[in-house]
């Protein structure tokens, strides 16, 4: 048992805004009682629930492809030295698995959602997730360009498509569905793209990206999946793409949806020269429609490597930058592209992107619906989150940074007119309580009795980036994992998955289609349950239990 006394608590899930209270922990959960045990004096310190990352790329074929393409970065970055009980690792743009756990926990994040998994290599993703220590994990499967499902939608077999979606989620031992450039990646298999909701999808006559997003959101709601459709919209990164994004949002009225890395989808103009922010317009629509959540996908200046299932976009980025290009098309399902990238304040496009990420975070008025992310490693590496928190909390610091932007950015961004500063309560919402709620992880991002004792204790510090980058303590499952920058323990994290219902005869329906498209055996394709370490099956709605901590 353990007691934390005197800390100032920010626990948005329970409406606690900066109150001094004691917390008791027993058996890895918050408890109402304390009999005996260690007491930690947190007087004068700030306590928040452990961070929850709703959208990151930390495990599997694509980030590992990114590691392969960037040895020059591994060579210059920080290195974790092994100890008797702890593995070595490298940080940087695409950290190794062990370092990923140390770096997330090191800044107080205790749950991460790997947002892009091809089912074909899900086995690989889980192997890597098993090797990320400390934090709990979940993953989303890439299904919006799955040709077997698209064929069924084309044939009007929507019910069957839904069953197959459920089958795939369970085959991948996954937690939900990710849609990347719906239809566009399918077109990429022909070297094309599908940029708009009415665009043709190569190989199909009756369905468009609009059909896919609408039907997928509906199917996911019908299956009762805890996390809504997690959507990377069509036409990412392109000037003028705000129209596509708004059109997508209109398609999804009445459904739940999570818009990933909205920053990349909020641009006006019609070429790179006149590209401008449309964050204000997008935020206005978003504020009025409460069916949606989003994560920022904020950009910070510096080096990174971009990694996405959006193959055609990465081909364009390669042509624009002339830098290294990795591409991996995955049979029947999806693709993946890798291009190293440097965001420069002097570059007008990059400067607009930097502003857009912050504008969205500041202009969307409900912190329960917009979450902190950089689409790691695309906009910046996750371990730079404290810098973004500083930008959100300090208007003066933002203005200082804006002084470095090109002069001709005037009228292209609205950031200079925004004076809002985030409070600690709002920070706890966008980094923890909000994303946990969006993911449907009821025992996360919450300091209430019976919830997982994942929390972070910060020194009060005027230097916000330093405060959030160097917690005094981090607790995971009631155990001190970080103390004053030292990694104390590296427990294994849990992995969350769901088992949505599908009719058992789907196997026999799917088998011939599978054998036609894939080149591995149908029986060998699903990931075996015993490969998931510390699996926690969460319930879909329709199953009644409150929290699904089974197994």
């Amino acid at each position: 048992m353990l007691r934390i006394t005197g800390g100032t608590i920010y626990d948005p899930a329970n409406g606690i805004n900066g109150e001094v209270r004691d917390l008791y922990i027993a058996d890895g959960k918050f408890s109402s009682k304390f009999d005996a045990g260690r007491t930690i004096d947190a007087t004068g310190m700030v306590i928040m629930p452990g961070g929850v990352d709703v959208h990151t790329h930390v495990a599997g074929g694509s980030i590992n492809f990114g590691r392969a393409r960037t040895p020059e970065d591994h060579r210059r970055t920080h290195a974790f030295i092994r100890s008797k009980t702890r593995r070595s690792g490298l940080g940087g743009m695409a950290p190794t698995t062990f370092a990923t756990g140390y770096l997330y926990a090191g800044m107080g994040w205790t749950t991460v959602n790997e947002a892009a998994v091809p089912v074909l290599s899900a086995r690989h993703t889980h192997e890597e997730l098993n090797d990320i220590p400390i934090v709990d994990k979940s993953s989303l499967v890439l299904l919006a360009n799955n040709e077997i499902i698209l064929d069924l939608l084309e044939e009007g077999e929507d019910e069957r498509a839904k069953q197959i979606m459920a089958w795939y989620i369970w085959a991948a031992k996954s937690y939900g569905v990710k849609a990347v450039n719906p239809g566009g990646v399918a077109s990429w298999k022909y070297g094309n793209d599908s940029k708009h909701l009415t665009s043709k999808i190569s190989g199909y006559d009756h369905i468009t990206p609009g059909t896919i997003v609408t039907k997928y959101a509906k199917m996911i709601d019908e299956l009762g999946i805890p996390h809504p459709l997690h959507l990377h919209c069509n036409n990412l990164g392109a000037p003028g793409n705000v129209e596509t994004t708004l059109e997508t949002m209109r398609h999804l009225e009445g459904s739940r949806a999570h818009f990933a890395h909205l920053q990349y989808h909020a641009y006006g103009g019609d070429d790179w020269g006149n590209m401008r922010s449309e964050a204000a317009r997008l935020a206005e629509y978003f504020n009025a429609h409460t069916n949606m959540t989003t994560d920022a996908g904020a950009v910070l200046f510096g080096d990174t490597v971009t990694i996405t299932a959006d193959g055609p976009w990465q081909h364009l980025l390669y042509k624009l930058t002339g830098r290294k290009w990795g591409n991996l098309d995955v049979e029947n399902e999806t693709g993946c592209g890798i291009v190293p990238y440097t965001y420069r304040p002097s570059n007008l496009v990059n400067a607009v992107q930097w502003a857009v990420g912050l504008e969205l975070l500041l202009l969307i008025n409900d912190p329960w619906r917009v979450f902190l992310s950089t689409d790691h490693p695309n906009g910046a590496c996750f371990w730079r989150y404290p810098e973004i928190i500083q930008l959100l909390m300090c208007a003066d610091y933002r203005n200082e940074c804006m002084a470095n932007l090109p002069l001709n950015i005037k009228n292209k961004i609205s950031l200079p007119e925004i004076s809002r500063e985030y409070t600690l309560y709002e920070i706890a919402t966008i980094t923890s309580a909000g994303p946990a709620r969006s993911l449907g992880l009821k025992h996360k991002g919450n300091l209430g009795i019976g919830k997982d004792a994942d929390l972070v204790i910060y020194h009060q510090d005027k230097d916000i980036a330093r405060m959030f980058g160097h917690p005094r303590y981090v607790f995971k499952g009631g155990e001190i994992v970080i103390e004053e920058g030292d990694i104390r323990e590296t427990p294994d994290g849990k992995e969350y998955l769901i088992q949505p219902f599908y009719e058992p005869d789907i196997d026999e329906f799917l088998r011939p289609r599978f054998e036609d498209r894939y080149c591995m055996s149908f029986e060998n394709y699903p990931v075996e349950m015993e490969r998931i370490e510390h699996a926690q099956i969460q319930k879909c709605t329709g199953d009644d239990a409150e929290d699904g901590d089974s197994q």
Partner: protein, 115 residues
Amino acid sequence: MELKVIENATCTFCGCVCDDIELHADDVRIHQAKKACVLGKSWFLNHTAEKKYPDALIDGQPASLDEAIEVAANHLYEADMPLVYGMSNTTCEAQKECVAMADLLGALLDSHTSL
């Protein structure tokens, strides 16, 4: 004797890693490897569960597994610059153990790829 049939077995002889092989085996050997190519067939049929070799050899002399593990650990621990090499004809699970051991040893770590 009835042969055990393993469907959709995986062949790791070459990089194709075909996973549609049908193996017919008794307790000691695989008698048939259906769908396997000529290389795969010989791969499957030439490995048996017979005890053809001693558990271990130390300086060329038969030894027990426990002794061999102790001596191997000793050599590796005493070395200033040990090398962990190979990792082709083995499982990912063993490869992970190799990397973990190399990490602990502060060793050089390399695979066939460097050839």
